[in-house]
Structures are given as structure tokens and as C-alpha cells.
């Protein structure tokens, strides 16, 4: 029976790229549909009526939404190149860190780069303190990830796993945010393991083929969030 796999995504979104990375790793053919998030298609709204967001994976007509949920679905459906370990404890660990990245890291990074918390009305000094606080928080979060990596080549061990894919925000998008905003966060001195991992990660074929062009991404974020708050 011919399988139909559709991915609704947005070219710059790390979340929809995660889905494509997992499918590529497993050698699954799919049709990609680029969504204009300012003008969502009727199909997207039909397949994800609850959140109306990308990514959505549609497999033989049945939709799955939320990137981490989709990754687990992909792993359970296509058994080649497993991205989650077999051991329940290791699986719980991977899920824990993926949740950590999504719930804690991204918002902290945004705050540090573009001050989601501070606006133009705040005095310069206050803005500085908020910025320093945000940078410190990111540093603490990255330290946890640095420690979790230990001596492994990838978070998944010898091969790229679910946690590596979930960490695409750290492995690629973080560098983009840093350059777009001028704020340095993932330094080699403080996070040698994480930097090494990021370099390895973006070289993996299935990952490399699914990274949006760097310059285009930098321009997009600069345009959307301003030139950043590195130093005023």
C-alpha cells in the first residue's frame, strides 16, 4: 500500500525542521507543505484545529501535532534507525531533557537576545540588569546541557537521537540568534562539549539537509525582533 506522508511546516521553524530531520534520518519520503503563518491554509486549520500551528505530520490522512509528539510517533511507526533508546530509564531521560529545552531554554535565550521582558520604556540601567540576569540564566541552563552531554558524541550516544533533534534549537538556531542580536551565549570557553556537539550535529547528513539557510534566517530574526540588545 502506498504511504502518504505530509509535513506542514515553516522554513525557519526549528520545530517543523525537527520533523523533517527525523523523517530524513529514517529514509521516509514525504511531501512538504510550506505554510504562510500570517495566512494559514484551510488544510492546516483542519488538521490542527486545537492549536492551529505547525508542524503537523499527516500520515495516510491522520494528523499528528506538536513536534515532540510527532517525533515519538515517527519512531514508533518507522522502526529503522531508532531515535529513542530501548531502556525505559534512558527514554525518560531523553524526554526530560527535550522538555527542558523546549520549556526553559528557548524563552530564556529569546529574553537574553531580544529582551522579551524589557521594553523601550525601561531606563537604560534597568534594561542592563535584566539583560545580565537573562544571560546568566541562559548560562546556567546551557551548563546543565553541557553536563548532560558528558563524553558522548551525541546526546543519543553514538548516533543522533530524539534529544539531539530536539536540541536543534541549541545546535543551530542559537548561533543564528546570537549573530542576529549580537549577544554571545554559547562560548567555547564555557561550553566546549556543547560547542563540539553542535559542530558534529550540523554535519550529520539528515540534519545538514534540513537546516534553513543561515543568512536568510539571521535576516529574518533581525527584521522581526530588531538588531538586538548586546551593548547600548
Amino acid at each position: 500500500m502506498a504511504e502518504e506522508v505530509l509535513v506542514f511546516g515553516a522554513w525557519g521553524s526549528p520545530f517543523s525542521r525537527r520533523v523533517e530531520m527525523a523523517l530524513k534520518l529514517k529514509g521516509i519520503e514525504y511531501k512538504y507543505i510550506e505554510e504562510d503563518l500570517t495566512n494559514k491554509s484551510p488544510s492546516l486549520l483542519k488538521y490542527n484545529p486545537v492549536h492551529k500551528k505547525i508542524p503537523v505530520l499527516v500520515h495516510n490522512g491522520k494528523p499528528v501535532a506538536e513536534s515532540l509528539v510527532i517525533l515519538e510517533y515517527i519512531d514508533e511507526t518507522w522502526k529503522d534507525h531508532p531515535i529513542l533508546p530501548k531502556d525505559p530509564y534512558e527514554r525518560a531521560n531523553a524526554r526530560f531533557w527535550a522538555k527542558f529545552i523546549d520549556e526553559k531554554c528557548l524563552s530564556a535565550i529569546f529574553k537574553a537576545c531580544w529582551g522579551a521582558c524589557w521594553g523601550e520604556e525601561k531606563e537604560h540601567e534597568k534594561a542592563e540588569i535584566e539583560h545580565e540576569k537573562a544571560v546568566k540564566e541562559v548560562s546556567e541552563l546551557l551548563q546543565f546541557l553541557e553536563n548532560e552531554l558528558k563524553e558522548k558524541r551525541y546526546f543519543g550516544g553514538e548516533t543522533v537521537g530524539l534529544l539531539d533533534i530536539a536540541a536543534n534549537t541549541i545546535g543551530y538556531w542559537l548561533g543564528v540568534f546570537e549573530e542576529a542580536s549580537g549577544v554571545e551565549l554559547l562560548t567555547r570557553e564555557k561550553f566546549p562539549k556543547l560547542c563540539n556537539w553542535a559542530n558534529e550535529f550540523v554535519c550529520v547528513t539528515a540534519i545538514k539537509e534540513n537546516l534553513p539557510p543561515r543568512d536568510k534566517l539571521i535576516a529574518y530574526f533581525r527584521n522581526r525582533f530588531g538588531a538586538g540588545n548586546a551593548s547600548k
Binding site: 499528528v64 506538536e66 514508533e76 511507526t77 527514554r91 526530560f96
Partner: protein, 219 residues
């Protein structure tokens, strides 16, 4: 080999309750350790250094944190009875999606109902009802979110039921009036021993919240 299972918990926590329900569903014997969240134990800080939060399940000395991750872990380790997640991948994804929806939408809004006043409280009530109406839609005519049997999504949501009296009293509204199917579903869940024995009395939660508001000067 005896399995050693320890649960670090806090009795009013709807997150801790989820783990209690899952352990009870599987008939797992465990040691319950009550944490004083104003004075966290060295064990908790060692077992969950990242978030320093309960619940933490310690299985043969190894910690698992985050309530829904713990519930999945329990389901995967003790896989010989009472499956909490369906076996079909699409149904599993469906269950995970709705558990995630509950994670995203319920707690913060619900907290605002008892922790705030005025406009903020009214907005929270409105959002709470909207969220539960969506959940009612998802439940449909099924006895449980899991279908014929109690499962993952039911566990994720039912523990909030112990807080309903608190929300209704502080928010001055009736959840049953707005979402009768949810109340019917909750009462159905409460008929299960695993649920009834894991959830504290609603009035006790209310008394706790009244005390907490005074203690933290939130009145």
C-alpha cells in the same frame, strides 16, 4: 529482586497525584515521602537538581522527574498489566497530544482563579471554561478520554478534580453548570479505587489553599 520504589511528593500537588494514580493502577508498592516545599530535603535536591520539584520517582535509586514522564516510565517498566497508553502509534500520539494540551492550558489558568482577583480572575475563569469545553468536545460520548478504559489522558486531567471546589469557591462559579460532561467523567473516574485513594478530599485542598494564601500574604 525486590524493586525499590520511592515517591517524593507533596499531598496537594495535582502532579504528584498523577504518579500516585499510575502506581495504584499498576498495583505497585512504594514508599511515599512527603516533602515540605518550604524546606526541601537533601534527597529531593539531589534527585532533581535541575528543577528541585516534586514529584520525583526513585526506582532502584535512579530518579525520574516530571509527572507525565514518570507516568510513561511506569507504563513502560510495569508493562504486564493495566496499560496506561494504547498500543497503536496514532492513538498513542493522540493521547500524548491531549496530555500536552492539558499541560499547556490548565495549571496556570486554574492557579489564577484562586490566586488573583478582579479582571485577572475573570479572564482566568473564562479561559478555564473555554479549555474545559474543548476537553469536553474531545471526550465526546466516550466514558474515558482513553476510550473504554481509563488511561494516560484521564490520569493527566483527573487530578485537577481535587481542586475543583477550590476553583469554584474562589471563582464563584460552578464547573458542573458549564461543563457537565467533565463532572460526569470525573465522578466516573473517582469510582476507581486507584483514583479515589490517590486524590485528597476537595475540602482539604480548599482549606490548604486558604492557609497558603494567608501564609504567603496573597489575600
Amino acid at each position: 529482586m525486590a524493586h525499590e520504589v520511592v515517591l517524593l511528593d507533596f499531598w496537594p500537588s495535582m502532579f504528584g497525584m498523577r504518579v500516585r494514580v499510575a502506581l495504584a493502577e499498576k498495583g505497585i508498592k512504594y514508599e511515599y515521602k512527603e516533602e515540605d516545599l518550604r524546606n526541601k530535603s537533601p534527597l529531593l535536591l539531589k534527585m532533581n537538581p535541575i528543577h528541585k520539584k516534586i514529584p520525583v520517582l526513585i526506582h532502584n535509586g535512579k530518579p525520574v522527574s516530571e509527572s507525565l514522564i514518570i507516568v510513561q516510565y511506569i507504563d513502560e517498566v510495569w508493562n504486564d498489566k493495566s496499560p496506561l497508553l494504547p498500543s497503536d502509534p496514532h492513538q498513542r500520539a493522540h493521547a500524548r497530544f491531549w496530555a500536552d494540551f492539558i499541560e499547556q492550558k490548565v495549571y496556570d489558568t486554574a492557579k489564577k482563579i484562586w490566586a488573583t482577583k478582579g479582571e485577572e480572575q475573570e479572564a482566568a475563569k473564562k479561559e478555564f471554561i473555554e479549555t474545559f469545553k474543548i476537553l469536553e468536545g474531545e471526550l465526546g460520548e466516550k466514558p474515558f478520554f482513553g476510550g473504554e478504559t481509563f488511561g494516560f489522558v484521564d490520569i493527566a486531567l483527573i487530578t485537577f478534580y481535587s481542586w475543583f471546589y477550590t476553583y469554584e469557591t474562589f471563582g464563584n462559579f460552578s464547573i458542573e453548570a458549564e461543563c457537565p460532561k467533565i463532572i460526569a467523567w470525573a465522578k466516573r473516574c473517582m469510582q476507581k479505587e486507584s483514583v479515589a485513594n490517590s486524590l485528597p478530599d476537595q475540602k482539604k485542598i480548599y482549606e490548604f489553599t486558604v492557609w497558603m494564601k494567608k501564609y504567603f500574604g496573597m489575600d
